[in-house]
Symmetry: C2
Amino acid sequence: MMNDSIDIHTHVVPENFPAYAGNGANVPWPSMAPAHACHRHVMISGKVYRTVADGSWSAARRLENMGPMRVARQALSPMPELLSYWLALEDARALIRYLNEQIAAMIAAAPERFVGLGAVPLQDVDSAIRELEYMLRELKFCGVEIASHVNGVSIGDARFEPFFAAAEDAGAAVFVHALRPAGQDRIVGAFPEQAVCFPGDIALAAASMITGGIAARHPKLRIAFSHAGGGLAILLPRLVHAWNKISKAKESLAESPATYARRFFYDALVFDPAAVRFVVESFGSSQICIGSDYPFNMGDLDPVGTLEKAGFDAGVLAAIRSGNAKRFLGL
Amino acid sequence: MMNDSIDIHTHVVPENFPAYAGNGANVPWPSMAPAHACHRHVMISGKVYRTVADGSWSAARRLENMGPMRVARQALSPMPELLSYWLALEDARALIRYLNEQIAAMIAAAPERFVGLGAVPLQDVDSAIRELEYMLRELKFCGVEIASHVNGVSIGDARFEPFFAAAEDAGAAVFVHALRPAGQDRIVGAFPEQAVCFPGDIALAAASMITGGIAARHPKLRIAFSHAGGGLAILLPRLVHAWNKISKAKESLAESPATYARRFFYDALVFDPAAVRFVVESFGSSQICIGSDYPFNMGDLDPVGTLEKAGFDAGVLAAIRSGNAKRFLGL
């Protein structure tokens, strides 16, 4: 019952954004508008993108909610739709810097309870590396949140390798979150795209970090995938099979895809004890961390409870509650 | 050690195709060309689409291979790239009729050992229903193979509901196979797209049959998903969570997504005993069947062996080896 857990997957939306000050026309620059009690609307291009609770920006509200969640410390990362890869670089740099400073201000309110995983403008790798260095040096963040792809280009693409090399060298944690997922045009009905498609897209991102070779070439990179890597746990034996059967695949990777997958970290955000057990069985009990998606409604607001129902022994439970997150975040 | 298993997931490629006899220009009509011993190239638009072994067309070779695989009976379905949804309707109808007659000829060679899951031109729902009726009545097939989407449109889209209604009424088995998957543009490296992306695409198809309501409205439809439903097992608790949290989603479905998912059938093609256990835990031991992907190199040529390593009791093993397939196929 100790409140010692570390939650690597929580999101920040600022209470306000500065007005757009760039030179573009029809830029999808976000703003905030009043909603019902304790909530605000995130407005993008004149529409409500999402309505979010005040835990999104209020350190005090977070601390209040963390008690019943039994979470000692949260990693704060931006709501992924704010990552701004689709904005012109100067606009993205301005918005991202603002986001990172807002996260830093929340950390300053309770430095023992929060750590930062900031944003970088990954549409320009050099700028992304400079923002990463700024966050680590000036804001004392643990690392960075990136999306599962950059405007449709897999993060496993060689063009992003210098960014991952810089993160590896600097000892920065990289948290990869699904965003604007593949297959949105192949779902139907009243369920939102993040419910149906996020697990597939984060699996593509994790698989691509293996199949493209970046994971093999950067063995000290500390990288975690949201939503427990989505479909990757089910997909991994198929990747191993392909590696064994297809000579081009085997020539491209020195070791089995499973070797690299078991170096990655994952949150345990699968909402079900049996699924948590399978994720732990697939990737190893040393690689799974608590992740709640706080404060969003697709989150698990009792992540420790879900974990406890999986029936792990005390050592595994402690590793998943905090030990693995300390290693991932470099605490 | 009995050779009593039923394999619901095997593919046929004819030894030859008739020359194209339609009126189109640059039609991607397939042909076959010689390759190394016991193999032929499938040629599409002048390129080798895939090189396939003679088990693809030879009933005798299949029977020879089924012994060591401990498979008593195979369901024969076309290689998915032959489903021809992208051809002009008259071209597709001609190719699909040829495929179905070829499958019927293979069944005639050993009617106790093979059953048919034929193709239909699902780009035109009325034509698809007519071909389904023909296959059931004239060719005595058990049912049909369809892809996870039709030219990018989810099979869960309302336009396809009359086809599923007809299959339900006729008692036809519907086997859904991944094809031209979402996210192909989000992978990198030397692994083929079917290795990395099929599990995500079949999950989208299965989820859409739930979220769009077709599964709820057709409770007697017998439908099976390839590759164990791909990411669906990991995704399902998230769908349940969304259904509980999002009022629009809950209003759209009378019962939990898990209720419908546990009515579907799935093959066990996940290459790993722990993954098979998780699939069985997720969907129920009554819903999983042997599926090998014979004779392709992304297949599991010891599907019964993989299953046996999962450590099920004799009753569950028997259900997965044959009992569930008999129910799915209506044998």
